[in-house]
């Protein structure tokens, strides 16, 4: 393994599922690639991907319990982290929590930075329902359940480690309230409204000074319709159900058509403070 002074620093791309993480990976990936590459190329690695964790550990992490693997993840990330220059992007859905031994899940690397990608919880619920093929009621329930986790079964092999999500509000607060995460908030809705501006903000946060032309190219290459068409032609590894495209709608506000009043109320009641904090409420308190 390369020494810390030769390895890139870690930049966590943190988000609740279906909040736009892959889109940001496409933007950053295309920006830093320099030359045009594959259409569905993405920056970085996945924090819970067993292949990566196995390589860092030198063990088959499938042979560790969920708790045992969680306890060593801080050390694995410390081993991966360098001082830069350059960034290793790590997509992470886990909420930022402490392990059983009281350490932050992401380890202790002073150079690490975070880009926290947030999306309107009602749109997240709709997207989640389609992606995981569960009912809207179930999707709403998950967003309100602080014990929600991905890949937590113990009775079958999982390609990823268990990822504790908390609920939608708790997830956001966990990353944004922890100073050592050095998190920049990027909202899906702002990415849609002005992707150039948001990509510049991310570059500034990471100390990057790209050429204007590279930013333009990255934005154009990550246009939703373009990615959706590429997926239709060649498939996409993040799709989990046949016939359900990963790049489905990519719209803002679709929840108004899909969620019932009861579902909207449930999310609003549970997440009002979080929605207020992230700018998802109108002045009259109704959802934006």
């Amino acid at each position: 393994m390369r020494r810390p002074e030769e390895r890139p620093a870690l930049c966590w791309l943190a988000s609740y599922p279906k909040a736009g993480n892959t889109w940001v990976r496409s933007l950053l990936g295309k920006l830093l690639a320099g030359t045009p590459g594959p259409e569905l190329a993405l920056a970085g690695v996945h924090a819970a991907a067993r292949g990566w964790l196995d390589g860092l550990a030198g063990l088959d992490t499938q042979e560790l319990t969920h708790d045992g693997l969680e306890r060593i993840r801080p050390d694995l990330y410390n081993a991966a982290a360098g001082r830069g220059p350059g960034w290793l992007f790590v997509k992470i859905h886990d909420a930022l929590h402490r392990t059983g031994e009281g350490r932050w899940l992401i380890g202790e690397s002073p150079q690490a930075r975070t880009i926290y990608i947030a999306r309107h919880p009602m749109d997240v619920a709709c997207s989640l329902s389609h992606h995981y093929q569960v009912s809207l009621d179930e999707a709403v329930r998950r967003l309100c359940d602080p014990s929600c986790a991905l890949s937590e079964r113990t009775d079958k092999a999982r390609a990823q480690a268990r990822q504790r999500l908390l609920d939608w509000s708790g997830h956001a607060a966990s990353w944004l309230d922890e100073p050592s995460a050095h998190a920049l908030l990027v909202r899906y809705e702002d990415l849609k409204a002005d992707p150039h501006r948001e990509l510049w903000r991310m570059c500034e946060h990471l100390g990057l000074s790209p050429a204007e032309a590279d930013v333009d190219r990255a934005v154009a290459g990550s246009d939703f319709r373009r990615l959706a068409q590429a997926e239709q032609r060649q498939g996409f590894g993040e799709r989990i159900n046949p016939g359900v495209p990963f790049f489905r709608k990519g719209e803002v506000g679709g929840w108004r058509r899909e969620l019932s009043d009861a579902q909207v109320d449930r999310l609003l009641t549970h997440h009002r403070p979080g929605m207020q904090r992230l700018g998802y409420l109108l002045p009259d308190g109704s959802p934006a």
């Binding site: 030198g58 009775d155 079958k156 390609a159 359900v244």
Partner: protein, 297 residues
């Protein structure tokens, strides 16, 4: 206690109920020893990951909360269990990574997969976690095929796979799919619903020539697809499905490993089998593999 596995007479300081017993008088090829002097680190070692290091062809594994396991020259596996470690967890790593490394040190090409006997030859199914290797092994057993090895498949210079021990490891989910009741089977370690399933009497006792290597590739698709790899394309698939590939270079085995993979590539059919992720469709998958294997005869 004396045991036999992979054609080796193995002496062990602790019980290895998964293995077949050997007659007590046999001279041991390999010793598994309890040793409270096993170190936490080797000076000047090459790292093979945070918890594995190699020096002079020996490998030291420091499995968190389980044991330090020192695999020396393919002749000894020295084990120091950590306080509070349970016997099943220690055995899991000794018989997996430990024994796998010893076999590498003894000159075998060790493939990560499940090996079954088909028409007197060996079929190996490889693939990432969750691809369905152990489910497939159980499925083949259910159809009357015999298991040669589970997880650790050592192949000799003549291209023969050596039989391991009469056990497969099976997830609860797969057991349910196969209507196998796991009540009465032991977990491979506490906290995981994966079970040691004895298969005494339905295992192979002789080494068999390897004829087919199928890589399972789960995708969100509707149908099965098989893509044969030819010529040089076979080599990377074999290399990438080596057991504990990250130990090869630190153990100084990269040149012999490359040659072994190339030799195996020359003698086997290699194909990538894309299978739908849900539902698993185990019976169909077995049909696809067997039809292809028989078509070659």
């Amino acid at each position: 206690m004396m045991y036999t596995a992979y054609g080796l007479a193995i002496h062990s300081d602790f019980d290895l109920p998964e293995l077949s017993s050997a007659p007590p008088g046999a001279a041991a090829d390999l010793g598994i020893l309890l040793d409270d002097q096993v170190p936490e680190a080797l000076d000047g070692a090459v790292q093979a990951g945070l918890y594995a290091q190699a020096k002079d062809g020996d490998l030291l594994l420091t499995v968190p909360e389980v044991a330090c396991i020192w695999v020396k020259g393919g002749r000894e596996i020295r084990v120091r269990a950590m306080p509070g470690a349970d016997a099943e967890s220690v055995r899991l790593f000794v018989l997996g990574s430990g024994l796998g490394a010893a076999l590498m040190q003894r000159g075998f090409l060790v493939i990560h997969g499940n090996a079954i006997e088909v028409d007197g030859a060996c079929m190996i199914c490889v693939g990432p976690s969750g691809a369905g290797k152990s489910t497939l092994a159980a499925g083949f057993l259910g159809r009357g095929y015999r298991v040669l090895a589970d997880d650790v498949v050592p192949i000799d210079a003549q291209g023969r796979a050596w039989p391991g021990f009469p056990r497969i490891k099976l997830w609860q989910d797969a057991a349910a799919e196969l209507a196998i009741d796991t009540e009465g089977f032991q977990r491979i370690r506490p906290g995981m619903d994966k079970f040691n399933v004895p298969v005494m009497g339905r295992d192979v006792s002789q080494p068999l020539p390897v004829k087919w290597v199928y890589e399972l590739n789960p995708q969100a698709v509707e149908d099965f697809a098989m893509a044969e790899l030819k010529g040089m394309a076979k080599l990377p698939l074999i290399q990438q499905n080596t057991y504990r590939l990250n130990y090869v270079a630190p153990l100084g085995l990269q040149v012999s490993h490359f040659k072994q993979c190339a030799a195996l590539a020359g003698q086997v059919k290699v194909a990538r089998v894309t299978r739908p992720t849900k539902p698993f469709r185990l019976q169909e998958l077995m049909d696809v593999l067997l039809e292809d294997a028989h078509a070659q005869a």
